[in-house]
Symmetry: C2
Subunit: 505 residues, 2 copies
């Protein structure tokens, strides 16, 4: 609703900065260049696909007077571009983006192959199935539902292109940022940037900054301007409970040979209460949400009824008073569980093992290894003797311990979180407030995990996520798209950020 009003305002050229009309035409005019950028295939797993993208970036940034530099990296080099200010004592702002995209399966792209950009619409009919229709580029696209379909159209060539258009307008308006600007472009984000932490350590000096703005991901589900202070980290684990050496006839030994599926069920069941809250002592240690933080989270316009209806449940777990509060705590999620056979393959046996795969979403207060340790201790407190993962119990272990299990886990990466009301967050809040005459949605932390965390933590810099693209962009899936409204608003947002003084007068 607020968003519609904003665009009405934009149309009427009231309450909007003077340069917006020019910015609007420039954005519209930039679409062919964006289509050309999107036409470059960009799967980092395919040799040679990223090089034309990097050359495109070097040319575009170079033409605009940016320094460009490749930072050696295992795999494909990072690209760092820079535009220093001449102001004395200026701070440095580092933007982060990525130019590579998810792998594609062209057979699943409805309107055109993934690297032939095409305009169209996406509609969900009453039965829930999605219809894609090709469309002409409308005269005033920001007022329609027309999208640009192509791999990486949202994730994440969009913010790079938006940045370039906003920059051009800034220069046309005779302005420059009041900070040293760096923009690092990751060519392997969708390939999990396997060596990024090392590269960041190696190039710490080149990347050094006072503020980090991460240009990735979609805005809040309501498609309003959004700032995010962090993301949860992730650890994963595997828990195996051992039963008989081989599956046993459930008649001969039912009621006698212990069933590992029951024991796994009881063990997993003991880790949480009926409301889904972890009952393992210490699991939530260190997390304190003060009144101001709770107020910020209560202000996030999550449409709980809509979420419930879409996902299909009537009562959420009891961790936190609302969705945003729930995401401030580490999770302990059973992502998979298996024992014996089910369905038509079911056999009347006592299974020999029962396995659960877990994932633990981490918050800043919750070190992954500490949580894994607590889970392991809990398993032992439930009477299980733990053996190393990856091998069967020995005869001696079977003879000695009534309950046998293995547990192995590892932390993929930690969480990061920057105070949205700290210097970096306040600056960005001001920029968006000035641009849209309305405060952005403030998300204290994303529920998901992004491999940027090592980057943030290694550079030890306050980092805020500035997402720009529409939430229904089919990220990582076929028919990825960018709602043109978000393209226009994204350019406007970045103009506001480039134009906003780091420190208020």
């Amino acid at each position: 609703m607020r968003y519609t009003i904003l665009f009405l305002a934009l149309l009427l050229c009231t309450g909007v900065r003077a340069q917006d009309t020019t910015l609007y035409s420039r954005t519209l005019a930039s679409l062919p260049a964006y289509e050309a950028f999107l036409a470059l295939p960009n799967d980092a797993r395919i040799d040679g696909q990223l090089e034309p993208n990097l050359q495109w970036l070097e040319r575009e940034f170079g033409q605009r007077g940016f320094t460009t530099q490749r930072l050696p990296n295992a795999g494909i080099d990072l690209l760092l571009v820079g535009y220093p200010t001449e102001r004395a004592d200026a701070e440095t702002v580092l933007f982060y983006g990525h130019v590579d995209g998810q792998p594609v399966d062209p057979s699943k792209w409805v309107l055109a192959p993934p690297f032939r950009p095409v305009y169209g619409t996406m509609e969900v009919d009453s039965s829930g199935s999605v219809q894609y229709l090709e469309a002409d580029l409308p005269e005033r696209p920001e007022d329609t539902e027309v999208r640009l379909f192509a791999r990486s159209s949202s994730d994440a060539k969009a913010p790079i292109m938006m940045f370039l258009v906003a920059w051009d307008q800034l220069v046309a308006d005779g302005k420059r940022p009041d900070y040293h600007l760096k923009f690092v472009i990751d060519p392997m984000e969708e390939a999990s940037s396997p060596d990024l932490p090392n590269a960041v350590r190696t190039h710490r000096e080149a990347l050094a900054a006072d503020h980090l703005i991460i240009l990735d991901g979609p805005v809040h589900a309501t498609n309003q301007p959004t700032l995010m202070g962090g993301a949860r980290g992730i650890a994963t684990a595997r828990l195996t409970v051992y039963g008989p050496r081989l599956p046993q006839h459930s008649g001969h030994y039912g009621n006698y040979a212990p069933n590992p599926a029951l024991r796994l069920a009881q063990l997993l069941g003991s880790m949480k209460d009926q409301e889904g809250r972890v009952t393992i002592p210490g699991y939530y240690d260190g997390i304190e949400l003060d009144a101001e933080t709770r107020e910020m989270m209560a202000g996030v316009p999550d449409d709980i009824n809509d979420i419930r209806r879409k996902i299909g449940f009537s009562q959420a777990d009891g961790v936190g008073a609302n969705l945003q509060e729930a995401l401030q705590y580490p999770s302990l999620n059973i992502r998979g569980m298996s024992s014996g056979w089910v369905g038509s393959a079911a056999r009347t046996i006592i299974p020999n093992t029962a396995v659960a795969n877990l994932d633990l979403r981490l918050v800043k207060e919750s070190d992954g290894d500490r949580l894994l340790g607590l889970v392991e201790e809990h398993i032992e407190h439930q009477g299980f003797h733990l053996i190393p993962d990856g091998r069967e119990p020995t005869d001696e272990e079977r003879a000695s311990y009534p309950r046998l299990a293995s547990f192995s886990g590892s932390t993929s990466y930690g969480a990061f979180r920057t105070d949205l009301n700290g210097p970096t967050g306040s600056w960005l809040q001001r920029a968006l407030m000035h641009t849209f005459d309305a405060p952005p949605v403030l998300v204290r932390t994303m529920g998901g995990s992004v491999p940027i965390a090592p980057f943030v933590n290694t550079l030890d810099v306050p980092a805020i996520v500035l997402p720009l693209v529409n939430p229904d962009n089919n990220q990582h899936s076929p028919n990825e798209n960018l709602l043109l409204r978000n393209y226009f608003r994204g350019v406007t947002s970045l103009y506001g950020v480039l134009d906003e003084p780091l420190h208020p007068e």
Copy 2:
């Protein structure tokens, strides 16, 4: 140990009935005829394979003066043979056997194809792997470890052949049973005798008897003469707990959208205590084990240490004081459990469903439908709204009920159990005691389930299982075999049964 002593006794012709030497030569001489019987393929699922077997039986029993009659049955007709006594007011004893065998995979038979009978040995080496070696038929096979390998050599042409040999000796000794004898031979037991209950109802009069002796299955694990009073029945069920409509990103909604794997774990965990005893009220109702029964069960020479070592656990579930007691109770076994993905397929999701497949072994006191009803009630008492199995919850159900599940089960067949100290059991105990000068192992009920139960229950006749073959016969598997010692002892056992007066003087 006792068994070795018995055969020493047999060899020395002391403490054994006068005709035993003759019986011995006759048994040895019968082996070529048995080989010919075993050479007839007998998979009921393959058209035409059973007919030569039925003709063989009609000829063998017919030559011995038995009446023979085919009882129409869906699929393959049952064969009923009879030998009435001339005694006034005699009771009727019905023997049950089956002539069909499990399907075969000839490529897995080591010594010879499944329908080319061959003598050999089976040895398990220190690493646990099995070695098969061909052997000559020894002069006194009952004193060796030599086996006859062929499909159905144990399961269950053995007792039919043993019966014929014992009968011939009985006739040679100028004796006849003091009861009307009927022998019904099922040609579809390994194909689950799908229409047997109907056939038994149709032919109730022809099959009517005062005692039923089931000649099937192996003796107790110690390979001692054994009588079994019954078998557990079986019911199966499927329990599905519903989570989100589709798998959800565990980051976006972890701690918020309820996880069905956790709920299934907690639900299954709530059905039993830590010792594996069912905690659902009423589940064990009606089961009372008096002192005499407990004594009988404690007398079964189960080698608990050996069972633990073989199966690989150190502490049995707490249902009953020993294995035999445990089998007197219905089980509630998780035979399979699945949710999401595990192992290399694991994905960081909240799964959309979690499924458990259960089997409930039934005892005579425990009607399958009653137990399924108790489990269903328990699920509802745990706060779950149950929807019909086989469809997804509707949007309205998802919006209305915090916990959604489906549960569906059915009773395959009930248990049967006959008092081993009742008239039928006492008679058979006397017969074996007179034959071997030692009491048989008395198993009150088998843990497993056999499709004979409808037969027993429809005829409403006291039924006792008289197993004769060795426990390590590879029943249902490749390399099925009959230990020749068991062949000799089986003939001796059946001679004893045919010769034993139904009622002591």
